[in-house]
């Protein structure tokens, strides 16, 4: 990085010219009419002069669209100084958009391959203000300008004052994290999009070849399992593999660095990304485990800060899969202000376990009863019904096991103004590290069945752009009031 003092963007600058294409993209529907009409004319084999005489209006529209996109790019300016980032946009209605430096929770530099070739960088940023699914600002700038913006932020938040502490996970852990994160459905969707797009361009042969290949594989593999199930299994495996490769490319070369008041994360091979987060804007840290990862004492740590993990498909990961010891040491390096506090309140005696396992237990019982009833009503379909019941029972058993683990590990810990919440949601076990200042609501929910035991469902809402709740079951109300310092009714 060059010395930021030698370069300055406190005067207005233009964004990258690739913005013209982005601007045109929004008006692409206007281009559809001229293209369709041109095609129709070409197909009717008229002369160029005849075509021009009919298409002159369409060409005019096309020129206007390109002209407006160019003008919009020309009018889009930005500058950054010690106070903040100012973006000026608008052709007819001018819009000045200013965000104070201290309010930008996350600044993201996105450098996919196609932008890297033309020396462009997509800069996005987010604040704690609710903005739905989009970033608060999104501009494409020259690489050198993006570097200055990042240098300025580094300068402001103590990059040079203290030594940079960096954490780089082992490649094996990155592969494990990508494997755990991979979803067959995402891969299957990617295949279907690829096939439909390639089908539109190259014809239907590729799609036919793919489907034939799949059917051949499923016929080879089919033994006692029906061919349709083998076919589905092959689709799931291929989908998972594609999602795995996609995730691996996204998170490869992951590194997290702590500077005085900020965290900087770098990730990706083909599409490189850098996230610059202010530590006081981090809402909470979530150490997540599944049933098997808990048994093998492996966890994945996520960090929740407005802007990180918002862009398509990225998870807000801080420490990809790692052992307990490595997680603790990495957390000490990256977020020393967050502490893992031992549990001070727990769900209590073993008789309270029903409050945790009732849902999977009822689902299992319902599945078994439905399976028996259906196979008696439709005896010819007995084998298929038993198979379906067995398939449905496996996630229920999984959830049952997770809830039992949750019963033995749930609770709340506190050290000063730092809280640790231990709970489960669906198939994951969470350890949430949150500061008192980031708690926006504490809700004590008590049904009529819990009144005698004076127990409750504790819901802790945390600071975020949208609603985020952490739910702990079967907590003793006086203990909850004591640990959070709440007034009694």
């Amino acid at each position: 990085m060059k010395n930021p003092k030698t370069r300055d963007i406190s005067n207005f600058r233009h964004t990258h010219p690739v913005t013209i294409i982005r601007n045109m993209w929004k008006l692409v529907f206007a281009l559809l009419i001229p293209v369709a009409r041109g095609l129709w004319t070409a197909m009717s084999r008229e002369s160029f002069r005849d075509w021009l005489s009919t298409a002159y209006f369409d060409i005019l529209v096309l020129l206007i669209v390109v002209g407006v996109a160019c003008l919009r790019w020309h009018e889009q300016l930005f500058r950054m100084d010690e106070k903040g980032l100012l973006i000026q946009t608008g052709l007819i209605r001018k819009k000045n958009f200013f965000i104070e430096n201290n309010n930008i929770s996350t600044l993201i530099s996105d450098r996919p391959l196609h932008l890297r070739i033309i020396g462009a960088v997509r800069l996005t940023g987010d604040t704690n203000a609710a903005a739905g699914r989009n970033a608060d600002f999104d501009i494409t700038v020259w690489k050198k300008d993006a570097e200055i913006v990042f240098d300025k932020r580094c300068e402001l938040y103590g990059c040079e004052d203290e030594e940079k502490k960096t954490y780089k996970p082992h490649s094996l852990y990155l592969a494990l994290f990508s494997a755990l994160l991979s979803n067959s459905l995402t891969g299957a969707l990617l295949i279907s999009t690829f096939l439909s797009q390639s089908g539109a361009i190259l014809g239907r042969q590729l799609e036919g070849m793919f489907m034939q290949g799949l059917s051949d594989i499923s016929q080879v593999l089919a033994g006692w399992v029906p061919p349709i199930l083998t076919f589905l299994a092959v689709i799931i495996v291929i989908g998972w593999l594609i999602a795995f490769v996609q995730n691996l490319l996204r998170y490869m070369l992951f590194s997290a660095s702590r500077i005085k008041k900020a965290l900087s994360l770098d990730l990706g091979i083909l599409a490189k990304r850098t996230y610059f987060m202010l530590t006081d804007k981090i809402n909470y840290i979530d150490i997540r485990q599944g049933m098997f990862t808990k048994l093998f004492r492996i966890s994945t740590t996520y960090i929740y800060c407005a802007g990180y993990g918002k862009d398509g498909g990225t998870s807000p990961v801080l420490i990809p899969s790692s052992s307990r010891g490595e997680t603790l040491s990495a957390l000490k390096t990256l977020c020393p202000e967050r502490k893992i506090c031992p549990r001070k309140i727990k769900p209590g005696k073993f008789r309270n376990i029903w409050g945790f396992v009732w849902l999977p237990a009822l689902l299992l019982a319902g599945d078994a009863l439905l399976g028996i009833a259906m196979s008696r009503i439709l005896p010819r379909w007995g084998a298929a019904i038993n198979f379906a019941a067995l398939m449905f029972s496996s996630p229920c058993v999984w959830m049952f096991a997770v809830k039992i683990m949750d019963f033995f590990s749930a609770g709340v810990g506190r050290e000063g103004d730092e809280f640790t919440l231990y709970y489960s949601s669906a198939f994951s076990l969470h350890t949430v590290l949150i500061a008192k200042s980031k708690i926006t609501e504490i809700q004590i929910q008590q049904s009529i069945f819990k009144r005698r035991a004076n127990r409750c469902k504790l819901i802790v809402h945390s600071y975020s752009e949208k609603r985020k709740a952490h739910t702990l079951r079967n907590m003793y109300i006086p203990d909850v009031r004591e640990i959070f310092g709440l007034n009694a009714f």
Binding site: T440, I444, Y463, R467
Partner: protein
């Protein structure tokens, strides 16, 4: 910190709304009796039992269970008959406080104060207009008194 009930007019408003709903139910029942000829005694008895339950047990319980307090550290709201919810909203994280009145609330001169924190909102319904104004001023920082 003193815990308060909502204005008693809130219960009157709920009762009025219940009567209006019952009028609609009666109209629907009479049409059903005319068209489908169900056992009319059972239908009328079910409606009557439901009405009596809501009027004499559910709504007074709901009114009684609703309590709120505005302290110097937090705003506390308790509500719920079957499932009791107690919400503690830290005052330091309050982003915005607004006051709204629906059409039927305006008839009874009542207001609802909505306390927004980041990503969550707390509702204080059935407040008299003066009380609502006082809470809005207190939570917005215009009134320097710490407790209500």
């Amino acid at each position: 910190m003193e815990f308060k009930h909502a204005d008693i007019k809130l219960l009157y408003m709920w009762w009025t709304l219940l009567f209006l709903c019952m009028l609609l139910v009666c109209a629907a029942v009479s049409i059903a009796l005319e068209l489908f000829k169900p056992p009319w005694i059972a239908a009328v008895a079910a409606c009557l039992v439901l009405f009596c339950f809501i009027f004499s047990i559910y709504l007074p319980k709901r009114y009684k269970s609703f309590r709120y307090a505005v302290g110097n550290k937090e705003v506390v709201v308790r509500r719920g008959v079957f499932v009791r919810n107690t919400s503690y909203l830290p005052r330091g994280n309050i982003q915005l406080v607004t006051r709204t009145s629906t059409f039927h609330e305006r008839i009874f001169r009542l207001s609802t104060v909505i306390v927004y924190t980041a990503g969550k909102a707390g509702y204080l319904p059935g407040l008299s207009e003066e009380n609502a104004e006082k809470i809005v001023n207190l939570l917005s920082g215009f009134d320097k008194t710490e407790d209500l």
